[in-house]
Symmetry: C2
Subunit: 764 residues, 2 copies
């Protein structure tokens, strides 16, 4: 590879660090109105009266809307996978504004005013009266017989699925085991906390279309969903995604776009900006699902897993968002990483409660299931008296695995074993494990822990995996690249430019990518989620690039008489393959393609791809911790992630992804949790009280790659965006276990919870 | 035809009449600076000193640039035909700003300031000293031996060409004639006076590219020319053309784009707007060439033209702009409309003078040559004692004409004879000609006159004729159409939508066109000129539409089992051709193309065409006038244009084009002229003193079409944009001749000039 595999600089690097990149907030236009959302201050109940008259009378208020002012259309605010189908879907359970509030913060009205102070004042002047209903914060309460249904005819169950894989009867299989262990785990809700809050501005253009400039991961889907919610056709809505400051899945939901669009419609088409505050964003967008797990594993004397079962109950909060898919994906993951010899059983349920809605978040439910499974693996190993690494190696997925959950696809490329070895070596496993296994009695005790993971790339075969790319050779020999895929800060545009350069032979710095998505101009692509873009959209870049390359070489053949097969493009020059002799410059060909009577024909390509494959990324985390028994504080002495993501396309960006993911997993494991009182009122929806790790909390991260070649990836690559966020928490949990002997089966393992556990266990 | 041929409403009609359409002036952004150009107040001379220090010291002035601050690069500001080649070209004679002024109004400096008053004040504070040079206002003076060369090594000749077609020696051919007549004509300079003055704003985007939002007819060419002038590569410049208010050829030159770009570069990338005032626009952009003609025609007794010769001298003013092409095109036109049996000789010269530069203007030099030739035709007919209609019919071009000037193409489709008949009938020629031929002696005398024309469509084979179109079927079944072609008010977008509807079967109102051109997003097309868009770009619409139609029908075949050939698309439904039975709705197919696992594949097409043909439009004007001898005022009692433009694609828009063109020709013929004093100072560069016809001066226009079918046109169509502006002036001149017996061989035939002539001729 010439360009891929190198740590090339982001094309948007200078633009961003110099502050020139335009984010939504930078699109301030003349006379833009400020939109603010009135959110319920109870978690469950009917609105019996809403009086906006005082607010309307406030000078500077331009429009006020409540549930009666928006279409009575229920929609599903998510893009994938279900909502990409035309049918409203079984989970279309949300109105733009509601008269029936389902969580503390539910959207009941919105105001557009000339400035932010007026808008805030107007919210205060809206009088709302409620008839309160019981508040259910956990699935068990919500699903109890006779409770109030948060959504009609739901029994507060959003979705449920189960599967059994294996011929043997489950009970019989457990009977045949030499050891059976059962554990329970609880992963509590966290928030994405992406740098840029949700923000969108909308206006009506001169054709009376609603244009929404929004910080989203899924522009084309937002267009469809918003049009549906507004009762408009797709062509009446246009979505523009400028530079955006992260999403982590939070921006794969239509959270504010339909509201801001409704405000501009109510304001006669005037531009309206909704710029969420952090406090609002933390409850008014999406959470990571809180999920409870029961896992039961049966092994034989040699440590081989014969049978296993997982029962998970996921808390979606007030609305479906991604539906039951997140819990369901966990079932597959449970089945796949350590396949049982005889039988695997999974039961998953997703319940409605009165928490803020949970949605997609980096790795889509797998960090939760991974915490449970990898903790449980250590517990089983410990019951067997077996080294956790050895136990994993005995049971881990092997190349050639046939996956009945994925249309019997065969998983051919698995670097998990090497990842585990590398992680083990990195942390000094054999030595330290032995060292720390001696009885520790002091206030500060150490341990090492390990955890593995597997993670599917993209969403096929559950849903379409499609992408589009457009390329055009400009008269100066530069290549203009327009993707449907969405750069949200992760660096995908960089890698697309590298891919384009790799395939076409045009210098990397001469590949100029359009950072802005616009549903009017960008090819169709479903967006940034599921670690799909380099894998799926990368196929589009490859295909378009090959077309461009071929068009260039055909011209060169025409001009030089040398056959295409004997020509190559190297750094903007067409050369003869054997002699390396310059045949003609790319610039010559580019210019002639615009203005030569003989050679006219702009060299361009627009392709779409429909990728019908998936690939599994693998990896392992190893952590060494020191636990302060008296305070419950865990210090990470050393930690690493080792990833098999196939080919590493840009090591610098790849490391960046791993750093960010590890930080996120440590947050989930050690400090982060969204707290609510028993009425469902959020207690810490701000970055002071919500303990997002800061740089002061963050250890050095070891990052290693096991480079395999994934045959289904466009360049041998597979998922890397989400995987880093999966396994560190469990590795830390297992290290705490070695250090203290205490099995902490709940997140966050923060000082408060550890202090309580240590007290309970008699360590303090 | 289902959609074409109908007077459908413009898709931008409501947008425009409600004031929502965004023109450049509507793109006001925060902190936009006002740019103003300092123009020379002498017509010819060197700048010996330019001192901007006082201006720079003025608070609110952000940047001042003069010749030394811009690249020393000479460029040709036009797009066609020569400048579409990569080479700077023989006519690259212009700098962005100059130290050597060549006309009164030449650009010597520019200022960017916080508001318009500051900018104007700054211009006043710039001190300029000149060393004046002799001023040449007409070609004869400029081309005299020993004069100062306005451009080095030019001898003040910009271009010259000649041809002789026919085997016979010219002198010998004239010898063989029974009658030879020679006349001289002078067509004086006029101004386009499009509704919207030249206006552009520029800024640097976050990638440090120069973005220019400009009122132009040729966005892609402006990008190339501006980049060249600025010493940048094409990809460093982006051109956006919003709604624009007319151009008539004036906006096929880069007049202000390079200046406004230089200002934003000087102002650190801040947005700068140059919004020309009318006074400035009338001298600071382009004029229609003043051209002198000598024509000599020899006929036999039967009225057949045996030999003819034309010598034309064209005045390009201070800069080349379109070079010699405009004068040269007149030669072909002279040769073609009434072919001589034995020999035709043409000599054309274009000279530099110190007038403001002349450039393209609707019909590109042909109104000038037509005034001369059609006047001369009447004079020859009169010498022969022959009816001018009969004389024309004897000599006019016939189907099957082989054109040696156009690669021996055969002109197959000629409706000129029918046009002439229709015009004759419209005006009541036979009766009135006879009636008015009786000796008239009163103060008010009447006459009828007639004139024909021919006009080539587009510019092949002199230059490339290429276009691009992109279509995409949206999920709601609407068709998004993005053209490279440029809507400038003429209605091309309307007709493109009709074409797309016609070909695809999608309802006209469901074809949604992007009105804004953007070199980043629009397919490549050279723009709006040469009556080319419906003819050339129409081929792109047709090609893309056929691809879309085919993709739709293939899906329908897949879903229904009915073969593509038995299916049709009618008003958004796919029906079986024979039974007219509904097979499936277009909307179903559209939706599935975005989200069906089985049928994914966005239905889209991006095509480019390279049209290697031309077609001739023909027509005739007939006018009935009453001349007030004592005042020299001419009243148009009745006038019509009859056009053979092949298929008429939208009769309402076609009539609009004809109305506008006729008005323009009457302005040229009767009232308009740019006046200068002997120092080259403009005397009437404002709409009070420059006599553009107002509605009060405008008669009812008769408009008729002779619908032929042009085989090379995408829908049988050929040029209509420019032709209406060609022949009315000559028809009026010939009517004045009948009314008064006076041959007025110079434009404008305004009261002043007629009064002088009538006095001279003894009528007064």
């Amino acid at each position: 590879m010439k360009t891929l595999g190198k740590s090339l600089k982001r094309p948007d690097a200078i633009t961003k660090v110099t502050g020139k990149a335009k984010y939504v907030a930078d699109y301030q236009v003349k006379n833009m109105l400020v939109g603010k959302i009135l959110r319920s201050n109870i978690a469950h109940g009917h609105i019996t009266k809403i009086d906006v008259s005082k607010a309307k009378a406030l000078p500077g208020v331009v429009a006020i809307i409540s549930a009666d002012d928006v279409p009575d259309i229920k929609f599903q605010p998510t893009g994938l996978p279900i909502a990409s189908y035309p049918e409203p879907g079984m989970h279309a359970d949300k109105n733009i504004l509601t008269n029936y509030v389902r969580f503390y913060g539910d959207e009941i009205a919105a105001v557009a005013a000339v400035d932010v102070l007026t808008a805030r004042k107007a919210l205060e002047l809206i009088e709302v009266e409620y008839e309160e209903l019981p508040v259910y914060l956990n699935p068990q309460d919500a699903m109890t017989e006779g409770t109030v249904e948060i959504h009609p005819d739901s029994k507060n169950v959003l979705g449920r699925n189960e599967f059994t894989i294996g011929e043997t009867d489950l009970a019989e299989a457990f009977e045949r085991c030499d050891l059976v262990r059962e554990d329970e785990f609880m992963v509590n809700p966290v928030q994405h906390c992406q740098m840029e809050n949700h923000i969108a501005y909308a206006y009506m253009d001169e054709k009376e279309r609603v244009v929404i400039v929004t910080s989203t991961q899924i522009p084309h889907i937002v267009r469809r969903v918003t049009a549906h919610a507004l009762g408009l056709t797709a062509n009446q809505v246009r979505i523009i995604k400028p530079y955006i400051g992260g999403g982590f899945g939070s921006k794969t939901d239509v959270c504010i776009e339909a509201i801001v669009a409704s405000l501009t419609l109510a304001a006669g088409g005037k531009p309206v900006l909704i710029d969420m505050e952090r406090e609002e964003c933390m409850i008014g967008t999406r959470l990571r699902h809180a999920i409870q797990f029961k896992i039961k594993t049966g092994v034989n004397r040699e440590g081989r897993i014969l049978a296993k079962e997982m029962i998970s109950v996921s808390n979606t909060g007030a609305y479906a968002s991604h539906g039951h898919d997140i819990a369901s994906k966990g079932g597959g993951n449970f089945f796949r990483t350590y396949p049982a010899e005889l039988v695997t059983h999974f039961e998953g349920t997703t319940a409605y409660t009165n928490l803020p809605p949970a949605g997609a978040m980096r790795a889509y439910g797998i960090p939760q299931v991974n915490f449970a499974v990898e903790s449980h693996m250590d517990d089983v190993a410990s019951a067997l008296g077996m080294d956790p690494v050895v136990f994993r190696k005995i049971n881990m997925i092997q190349e050639g695995f046939v996956d009945p959950l994925k249309r019997n696809m065969v998983i051919e490329n698995i670097g998990l074993d090497q990842c585990l070895d590398k992680a083990k070596d990195y942390i000094g496993w054999d030595k330290k494990r032995k060292q720390y296994s001696k009885c520790q009695t002091g206030d500060r005790r150490r341990g090492v822990g390990i955890a593995c993971f597997s993670y599917g790339t993209a969403v096929w075969p559950y849903d379409l995996e499609v992408a589009g790319a457009r390329m055009k050779l400009d008269p100066d020999g530069t290549l203009q690249l327009t993707m449907g895929a969405t750069e949200i800060g992760q660096g995908s545009d960089t890698v697309f430019c590298q891919m384009a350069s790799e395939i076409t032979g045009i210098a990397y710095e001469h590949v100029l990518i359009e950072h802005i998505n616009d549903t009017d101009h960008s090819p169709f692509d479903t967006g940034a989620y599921a670690s799909r873009q380099c894998y799926v959209s990368g196929q589009a870049v490859k295909k378009a690039g090959l077309e461009i390359r071929n068009q260039i070489l055909e011209r060169a053949e025409h001009l030089s008489g040398i056959k295409v097969k004997d020509l190559d493009i190297v750094a903007g020059q067409i050369v003869e393959v054997n002699s390396k002799r310059l045949v003609i410059s790319l610039m010559d060909i580019a210019l002639k393609s615009y203005c030569s009577m003989e050679l006219f024909g702009v060299i361009k390509s627009e392709v779409q791809v429909d990728v019908r494959s998936t690939a599994y990324a693998f990896g392992a985390s190893a952590a060494e911790v020191e636990v302060d028994i008296k305070t419950g504080r865990v210090e990470i002495l050393n930690i690493c992630n080792v990833h098999d993501s196939g080919t590493i396309l840009n090591p610098m960006l790849a490391k960046g992804q791993v750093h960010g993911g590890m930080s996120m997993s440590l947050g989930l494991g050690l400090s982060e949790v969204m707290l609510f009182n028993d009425k469902g009122k959020p207690l810490n929806n701000n970055l002071l009280d919500y303990k997002l790790p800061t740089i002061m909390d963050t250890p050095d991260f070891g990052v290693e790659f096991v480079e395999t070649y994934e045959p289904t990836g466009p360049f041998g690559n597979k998922a890397l965006g989400e995987p880093p966020a999966i396994s560190p928490a469990a590795a830390v949990r297992n290290a705490i276990l070695q250090a203290t002997g205490v099995r902490v089966n709940q997140t966050p393992m923060n000082p408060q919870s550890l202090f309580e556990r240590f007290t309970l266990e008699g360590l303090i």
